[in-house]
């Protein structure tokens, strides 16, 4: 794992954390059939926080963040996102999904639409933005992720890193207040990882609330203000990045860190 993911200097000054609560998870439990994937999760995320979630494979990281925008259902406990309680009520789910953007490991761009169409689809159909306006926003975000010239192409014609940046731009077009990332760089080649991490750092600098499942520890150090370590469906340890990496408390965390930073 690359220790230092990016070479640019990072401006931590803008990354302020407000007191407003963005996400509140209270005694949440989830089962797949009879398998207990998430156990008694309690977590509060403030507006503007950048949280990195790490942990061994199968520890429930993806499941956790997928619960936050109702891609998975939880069975016990209460999740409040941006003041809205996540229940079975479709209206609430719609509302939350509009506030929360998500980026997947495998990009999940729509291959039959051009990049521009990928970006404007949801604004037009969900937010009811005029097409023109949606396209302007889209181009704005494409410029932000540094590929405005690809607007007319199809996803299949782009490299992995470019595709992932388009995926980030697609989420941003919905103007979300919170962004979830599920291992956004793990399907990419080393050169491309950098492009994507740069984009994410920029986002962090602008004060976006972010929950990010990743094993890019360099990114965690530079950007996160909290690192959460999960194992066996539970939050085992959380701390500020410096503390977390230099002075892990639990045995499991130590073991995990030694493995991941070992080579």
């Amino acid at each position: 794992m690359s220790e230092l993911a990016t070479s640019r200097t990072i401006d931590r000054s803008k990354m302020e954390v407000s007191d407003e609560i963005a996400i509140d998870i209270n005694a949440m439990n989830k089962w797949y059939g009879s398998f207990h994937v998430l156990r008694d999760i309690n977590l509060t995320v403030n507006q503007g926080e950048r949280i990195v979630i790490a942990g061994p494979s199968g520890s429930g990281k993806s499941t956790l963040i997928r619960c936050l925008n109702a891609l998975e259902e939880h069975q016990q406990g209460k999740i409040t996102v941006d003041g809205t309680v996540l229940s079975n009520d479709l209206k609430n789910i719609d509302k939350i999904r509009r506030e929360v953007g998500m980026v997947f490991q495998h990009f999940n761009l729509f291959p039959h639409l051009t990049i521009l169409e990928n970006l404007t689809l949801a604004p037009i159909w969900v937010r009811k933005t005029p097409k023109k306006e949606a396209e302007e926003t889209a181009m704005h975000f494409l410029e932000k992720v540094k590929i405005p010239e690809q607007a007319g192409k199809y996803p299949g014609q782009l490299s992995g890193g470019q595709q992932q940046r388009v995926a980030i731009a697609r989420s941003l077009c919905m103007k979300p207040r919170i962004m979830l990332f599920d291992e956004p760089t793990s399907a990419l080649d080393p050169e491309m990882i950098k492009e994507v991490l740069d984009t994410m750092i920029e986002l962090a600098e602008e004060g976006m609330t972010m929950l990010c499942v990743t094993h890019e520890m360099g990114f965690a150090r530079q950007v996160a203000n909290r690192v959460i370590f999960m194992d066996a469906g539970q939050i085992v340890e959380q701390n500020e990045p410096e503390e977390f990496f230099n002075n892990p408390q639990s045995e499991r965390t130590k073991l995990f860190l030694s493995q991941i930073l070992g080579h």
Binding site: V17, N29, W31, G33, S34, F35, H36, R39, D40, N46, Q75, Q76, N225, R226, D231, A232, Q234, I235, V236, E237, Q238, N239, E240, E243, Q249, S250
Partner: protein, 435 residues
Amino acid sequence: MSDISFVRTEMLPEQDPPASEVGALGWAKHNLFSGAMNSALTVFSILAIYYVLAALLPWAWSPTWNATSLAGCREILHDLGREGHFSGACWGVINDRWVQLFMGFYPPEHYWRPIAAFILLGVALSPVLFSDQVPAKLIWFTGLYPFLMPWLLWGGSIWVPLMVLAGFVIAYAAYRFILDKMSELIALIAAVIVAVVWWLFLMGPIAEFVFNIIPIGMEAVGSRKFGGMMLSLTIGVVAIGFSLPIGVVLALGRQSDLLIVKALCVGFIEFIRGVPLITLLFVASTLLNIFMPPGTNFDIIMRVIIMATLFASAYMAEVIRGGLAALPTGQYEGADSLGLNYWQAQRLIIMPQALKISIPGIVSTFIGLFKDTTLVSVIGLLDPLGLSNGIRANAEWNGVVWEIYGFIALMFFVFCFSMSRYSMYLERKLQTGHR
């Protein structure tokens, strides 16, 4: 910001999920009643199932197995106090005729022959289908089976299939002989000509001559005695068997860059695939004899097999073309760079791989053809469906409908369903198999 550091000192044990998530209840909740729409669908489906079963089961539950005529059935049901059109099935007809529906008019004392033929078919196919479980030597048997099967089914002198086989040997010998002197193209053409001459003109008299000296053979059974399921299977198996080599040639022709050859192959394939099978069967029953030299006379089953073979070849060609297309060009180049010529490359490198990829497609073609053999009833052959007419033309069983149709449908279902499952299994195996 509050202190965010947190360390869990004691791991939480796994807990059982809430009662509504597991067990029958949880299962039902997730699989049957998740949402109003789903619940409605569930109720509706269960009602539909109930309705069908309520109509079907009482009818099917009918102790008429031993009745010897429709009137007998009616009497039995009458005694049970069941009256009316749908009071109960008349299973007596199945009891009386099931053997016939399977074997047609094949002489009962020879039933072992078709049974053996179809069991041996399984053995012959096993090196292809279960290549990892049976000894590779068995492939020899696979090669011999095409000669063994007709002999078992039709009987007659053993020398006929042996002489047909000899044709291949002679052709091969001619090929090798000429190859030493001339190009492989000439050798190939010569071999084909030698084989054709042998089969058309020499083989018959020689086989007869040898038979007169060494009379080994089985009692001949004419194809008119074939009927029922056995007829369907015979047409299906023989047609698929013969269509395989023809299909390979057509597929190669269609892939080739020789324009005329390609045009001929495409024309044939598209023509056959563009017309309904039934028109081809009409050609078999009314025209084929007109196309043959005056005086030739195959019986109708042979003619049907010929047309079914042509029909299957066109479909087979498309299946094999798919297999060929799936091979990377590197395989051709590898063969070329080693100095293998076209036919060697095809035989040793390309076909073994392409055919293996095509097996699931071949099995589906077979299923399709096997189902389509029911069409021969339209031109008067007594396949199961044709036999059902014959059976209903007997005074005892005149008026029976559902029992026979149901039984025939069941027979086809069992055959086709098991084959389609098998081909699915093969497909999975091919996907995960090495490479």
